[in-house]
Amino acid sequence: MINEIFYMNGYGAYVWSSFIFTLSGFFILYSVIKLQLVKEQKKFDEKFKNLSSEKVELVKKQKTYRELLPNTSISKI
């Protein structure tokens, strides 16, 4: 059974390479996008922490930031 799945009547190399290429593509794209997201979130956290208390209050009042803040680590502080 296991041999059959790997050999696939002589087409195993073609079938497995197609599936491995697809799944590798998924993994690479997911990792790259995740990395970009984490990098931007860190940048936002860093900038937010360095803001003066007046600016923090100003940011918290703005609607667009109120939507964003729950999604960043700032909300966990």
Partner: protein
Amino acid sequence: MLKYFNLNKTLLTINRLRKFIFAIFITVLLVGLFEALVLSPEDYKQSDSVRIMYVHVPSAWISLGIFSLISILSFGIFIFKNKNFSLIAKSLAPSGFLFNIIALVTGSIWGRPTWGTWWAWDARITSMLLLAIFYLMYILSWRIFDNNDKAIKVSSIVAIIGLINVPIVKFSVDWWSTLHQPASVNLLKETTIHSSMLVPLFIMTAAFALFSLLIFLMKYNTELIKIKNKGLDRL
């Protein structure tokens, strides 16, 4: 109506479901892989090489679908002057491009045992390659131009021109004599694939669509945070 529809809020609400979507994607993918590699039968002519269809066909469908969506959104940018459309289109492009590459590569791998060649300059394959070039130009236009308005304009024009290629990809097998087989799954005509192969094909399509949604949500969120980061600089 568009004015009252808060896209940011809607998408950020969906974004909170990201972990949930990831879990569903993994489950559907595992079921699809088991169906495609173990349960589905071999073809009487192509034998087990037919299993390549389960990654090749959904990739081609989704890459075409995403490019069509990007083109429609690009029309929307010019008509409604809504910058959110450009953010959505930009966030859709990476997964669309990946699926286009997967369709080309797996098609090439499938071509070797069935046609006896890795590549042929036939209408379907060439038009799919052209679609990949349009994807590349679209993604590059966002990277090349520093001016955001110019990047939106150029990328939208690329997407709108590229839309001409979409029906060519779809109907190339009917309009010209090609090595590539005609469509086996039809919405209007009878489907020529047996249900034992159609079920894994649809499960894999669902898994690939969920992956696109996941990548889109992550990319869209990244783009939003980039904008807010610029906003913090201006404070």
